[in-house]
Symmetry: none
Amino acid sequence: MGEKSEQKKKIIISCARQVFTEKGYKNVTMKDIVEACEISRGGLYLYFDSTEQIFLEVLKLEQDETDASLEETLYEESTVTDILMLFLKEQKKEILRRDDNLVIATYEFFFVTKFPKKENSARRKFEMGVKLLTEIIEAGVAAGEFYCERPIVTGKNIMFVLEGLKVAARTVGVSEKTVDEQLLYILQGLIYEEEE
Amino acid sequence: MGEKSEQKKKIIISCARQVFTEKGYKNVTMKDIVEACEISRGGLYLYFDSTEQIFLEVLKLEQDETDASLEETLYEESTVTDILMLFLKEQKKEILRRDDNLVIATYEFFFVTKFPKKENSARRKFEMGVKLLTEIIEAGVAAGEFYCERPIVTGKNIMFVLEGLKVAARTVGVSEKTVDEQLLYILQGLIYEEEE
Amino acid sequence: MGEKSEQKKKIIISCARQVFTEKGYKNVTMKDIVEACEISRGGLYLYFDSTEQIFLEVLKLEQDETDASLEETLYEESTVTDILMLFLKEQKKEILRRDDNLVIATYEFFFVTKFPKKENSARRKFEMGVKLLTEIIEAGVAAGEFYCERPIVTGKNIMFVLEGLKVAARTVGVSEKTVDEQLLYILQGLIYEEEE
Amino acid sequence: MGEKSEQKKKIIISCARQVFTEKGYKNVTMKDIVEACEISRGGLYLYFDSTEQIFLEVLKLEQDETDASLEETLYEESTVTDILMLFLKEQKKEILRRDDNLVIATYEFFFVTKFPKKENSARRKFEMGVKLLTEIIEAGVAAGEFYCERPIVTGKNIMFVLEGLKVAARTVGVSEKTVDEQLLYILQGLIYEEEE
DNA sequence: CATGAATGAGAGTTCATTCAT
DNA sequence: GATGAATGAACTCTCATTCAT
């Protein structure tokens, strides 16, 4: 497959992403994707063999983009607290976002497929989150902005809270107020409070 | 429907529960349930119209049982800390449980079905968790065992962490060590530390 | 599946037989059979999973019928020569029969499927033919009607000639005259000629 | 089409022959041939429109080669019996040959295609076999080596036996011993036995 | 001439749902 | 009420064939 094919592949992945966003993972058929791409039935099979394969590519693309945007924006901020707040703000967006949103499909996917533990991109994403938070916290402690005894455990804790919020938002429902409340709670748990 | 019918319905729900436990929500077909119940194809339709309906009943049953068992066991303990620890221990079991386990199916279900907000039993369960934790925390504060400024927010926070752990255990994988670490972290965040 | 199902199965096999007769083996699709049976698409799958399975049943039925008819008719004759002639006459019919005829489909089937040597019904049929001929010849020799040194080898030889005629009739074409000529040749090779 | 095209055509036919040898006739798709030839999909259609057309060319090539080799080798032998034995030995090879072998595909082809009687190369081959055998037998009779009343009928008979063996070898299975037995039987039927 | 991406008809298969018994 | 055979819509996947480049 030449360059052109790569181009086409990307278009398919992009259309498919939209479909997964709307219907989740398991509900999506090859036919859905065919129709979304305005491609022929057989045409799709030239590039991909199954919805699973396509979804994996969607995830890969997703990850690359996330990685890039994180790096880019985070380190422009001045204080560690600002960085953390920016991170949490991004998370808030992802938690509450209703429209363009792969979160559900991703959960479904990892629930259902017996994923080969390595190459599990969700895990990578989670671990990167923990690492990032840990670094931020450590930097904050060093800068005298934060108080934290075990940054790694706290980092993980925050990631679990965020994960819980994401899921809850899509199952039981979570109000923006609740999200704000929780993010503030996280922040306050870290910020050094002199009066204590 | 007479008594006999009620009886039959219960049998179906019980068999179906097993199926959902094994295959999640979306993967389960009416055929699967028919086979598990050793009932006739048409017979099943006398009681239920869809897997969705059946799953809702499974959830309802589940809830009743959970409610009952919670009430029962919790208030036998002596100290508030003990009660909290017992609660967390139960949660740990649910987080790590691999075999008999409706968690995945439940998530899937609430992801996919545009749930009628009322009657959302997952929400009720979550809220009950928050309420229980809040009560425990308040009792703990009153007893001088805990320190906590806003019990409700902390209660929610704990529930989100637990939710995050549950999901993570089924997607990216979570070790028992990590679970213990997080539960301990929760506990330590509450217990009044005099030296501070 | 109860008795009624058995009934239905037989109807399907019978319709399918017709289809195989007309189109050979490989050309037949499940759809063809569905249409021939005037059954629903899914209905067929209640009874059979593949054309292969159906064809095997057709063959089985075929065999049973052949076995029965052979036994029945053969032993009514008076002299061994008459018996042999009757057998050959039957074979002639099968060689030349153009209309109701599974021969081609059967060859195709055994060409293409890597048949489990045992359970190969074509083999059984061939061997039964050899056995029958051998017995006839031996009886003929005993009765002083035939001359033959090694009845088994001759029996096989005759079966191979008949096999060759059958195939040739369906590939290169064989005239009735040629068939008669060959059958006569076989007969003359056996009948004791005193003048020699 | 120029010389170059002829060249290409031959390459295609040669590759296709290999494919037919491995998969029979009906199982071969244009795709298979495209892949075997390492030619482009569209390219193949410049030369041939269907697998049928290609197979016909394969057969033609086959025939030319067979013709040539027969002529060449046969008439080097000294006695008629030797010539016949050589012929039968060649046939034995073809009967038992498992690997490089178009026999099955050829049968399949002539079963399925409603062959235009003329241009039926299988028929030509069969008739050439009969003619050759008849000549050999007649020569043998003239030389006093064979005894035979109607050489043409006997020639046909031998061809039918060989045909039967070929088919049987590919359907019900035939041991080498059986082939030898039959070839010997043919030979003994011809050789003049003085003691009689 | 040559390429190979694209098309769409059609085969195989599964399942929710109905309905005569 | 209960049964399970039957239906047909929908999905997956393959391949002969075309056509812009």
